[in-house]
């Protein structure tokens, strides 16, 4: 659905994105990176707001810049809080629906449905100028959804939302992605998107750092051992047993009474396969088990070398 081919964009002497080549298909994809990574530039390129300085951008097979054929199938929620403050939420969504070509009863039905879907029905007749940041965010999402686009692009959609709204919006976006539509969500807060999707496009300083499934990306980083933390009262015995495995690099006891064992391995899949049988065979008591390196935060830190 979205294709970047050696796409670069400069703002004078400043690089926005640099030689990015990637494809984004149906489903929910998170565009991740710290501030200044080039996420917003990439989003502006794919929503046809700006032109690439070099390379090519294709959305639904077409060049998106000022292209009504692309815009008809695109829903966009910008990161800016700006809205038409003197309009009510309903008027705003209705205007956007009209500009997308919806008419009469169909428009009224879609407007009501999209407002309801983001939980703004009780506030739809209030002026946007009086909305909180979270309410603005939700009404912006409603206007992006109203014409049922094939491609939904949201720039920092969870920003400013309270935890409940954040959960609701995450669920909503996941549901839309599950319908086979292409949803692109940008964020600089990794744990925000972690709950939504494992499909990521990782940007850093204008460059594409990695793309794909977060665990697959993690697997590629073989120069960094994968850590597994096991909470057990049998730390010493378990460490001794695990160090017999050829793919376990190290074992370290932490915490009070050495109750937390941290193991490093370069082949986590082999470790995860072998671990249950070792525990059962030797009767080790396991209280908790997790890998801090399975988080997006860890992947991101490894990839940028920090």
């Amino acid at each position: 659905m979205i294709e970047f081919e050696h796409t670069s964009r400069w703002y004078g002497q400043v690089i926005g994105v640099n030689d990015v080549t990637c494809r984004i298909g149906p489903g929910l994809t998170a565009l991740l990176g710290p501030n200044g990574a080039g996420k917003s530039t990439l989003i502006k390129l794919l929503t046809g707001q700006i032109l690439p300085t070099a390379g090519r951008v294709r959305v639904l097979g077409l060049a998106p810049f000022a292209n009504p054929a692309v815009m008809a199938r695109l829903g966009y929620c910008p990161d800016s809080e700006a809205c038409y403050d003197d309009q009510t939420g309903e008027e705003f969504v209705s205007l956007m629906a009209s500009l997308s070509g919806l008419r009469g009863q169909e428009r009224a039905r879609r407007v009501a449905a999209s407002i309801d879907r983001v939980g703004m029905a009780p506030h739809a007749r209030r002026r946007i100028g009086g909305y909180s940041k979270g309410m603005r965010q939700r009404i912006k999402i409603a206007q992006a959804l109203v014409h049922a686009p094939d491609l939904l692009v949201l720039d920092e959609p969870l920003s400013g939302l309270d935890p409940v709204a954040r959960h609701d919006v995450s669920e909503l976006l996941r549901a839309i992605g599950g319908e086979g539509r292409c949803v692109v969500v940008s964020s600089h807060i990794l744990h925000e998107v972690e709950a939504m999707t494992s499909s990521i496009v990782l940007m850093y300083r204008g460059r594409l750092l990695a793309q794909g499934d977060v665990s697959a990306i993690r697997g590629l980083i073989d120069r960094h051992p994968h850590r597994i933390v096991i909470d057990t009262p049998d730390g010493r015995a378990l460490a001794r047993r695990l160090l017999e495995l050829p793919y376990v690099l190290s074992a370290r006891l932490n915490g009070p009474d050495d109750s937390s064992l941290e193991v490093e391995t370069r082949t986590p899949d082999a470790f995860y396969s072998a671990f249950p049988s070792i525990v059962l065979a030797d009767g080790f008591r396991i209280k908790a088990f997790h890998s801090p390196d399975n988080t997006l935060e860890a992947v991101f830190n490894y990839l940028v070398g920090s």
Binding site: Y11, G16, N35, G36, A37, G38, K39, S40, T41, K44, T47, G48, Q49, I50, L51, A66, P68, A69, M71, A72, L74, Y76, P78, D79, S80, A82, C83, Y84, D86, Q87, L95, M96, S98, L99, S100, G101, R103, Q143, H188
Partner: protein
């Protein structure tokens, strides 16, 4: 349908309370000047007061100022408040978005100058009645001026980051200075063409002696036909140029992260 809705939304956006205040202030300026003239003058001739103030204040200030304010707001207001993205990511050709904004600006300008003309006539002619004031003609020519100036500032708004500065410099520099210059220089000012179509009896800026000294240069006259041709050409030319620029130019705010 979509154009009508866009026009309605643009009008609403254009006539926010702050802009309505500008309309109110601009529309009473000529009337206030006329009242001051009446009070200060020993003998008051309503038609002379009307003609002098209409030429100097309504045409020379209110029309140009309203065109600067509303003409440049067509694009820049949307860019500055970062709402332009909602218009540019909808399945509408960009030229239609711009045309709707232009039409909204025209309505705002025409309302302002029409009110200014009516208030001025009332201030100059009351209580004897406003029948002698050429209100209809003046409003018609002011509307033509709104088209031409609106189009010029629309073009500036699509092209420049700070069109308001250009507009103010043009209005109070160029349009004030150039019509005062002798001879053919006045052909470079849109106001000269408007004053040809709506002549008011006001003192000539160039003396007879200077006219004779300048010879053929001073004999340049703008005919009604030429005035119509130039004003309509300016309107169409700048409107088309604005649409061409708007179609290709980027208006996304540069706040990359």
């Amino acid at each position: 349908m979509r154009d009508a809705l866009l026009l309605k939304a643009s009008l609403r956006d254009m006539l926010r309370p702050r802009k309505l205040l500008a309309v109110a202030v601009l529309s009473v300026v000529p009337a206030i000047i006329a009242v001051v003239f009446r009070l200060a003058a020993e003998t008051h001739v309503p038609s002379e007061t009307y003609a002098g103030v209409a030429s100097g204040a309504t045409f020379g200030f209110v029309l140009v100022m309203a065109a600067v304010v509303f003409g440049t707001a067509t694009v820049r207001q949307e860019v500055e408040q970062k709402t332009i993205v909602y218009l540019l990511t909808r399945p509408l050709p960009r030229w239609r978005v711009l045309l709707a904004r232009y039409a909204a600006a025209l309505v705002a300008i025409v309302v302002t100058v029409s009110l200014a003309t009516v208030f001025l006539a009332a201030a100059a002619f009351c209580p004897s009645g406003m029948g002698a004031a050429p209100i209809g003609r003046d409003i018609g020519v002011l509307a033509l001026g709104a088209l031409a100036y609106g189009s010029l500032f629309l073009f500036a708004a699509t092209l420049l980051r700070r069109p308001l500065i250009f507009g103010v410099l043009y209005a109070f520099g160029w349009e004030t200075l150039v019509p005062q210059l002798p001879g053919a220089f006045k052909a470079l000012s849109l106001m000269s063409y408007l004053r040809t179509l709506a002549p008011h009896q006001v003192p000539e800026p160039v003396s007879m002696e200077l006219r004779q000294a300048l010879g053929p240069l001073a004999t340049f006259t703008i005919t009604t036909g030429l005035a119509w041709t130039v004003l309509l050409s300016v309107t169409i030319g700048f409107a088309l140029a604005a649409m061409a620029v708007f179609r290709r130019r980027e208006y996304a705010p540069r706040d990359d992260d």
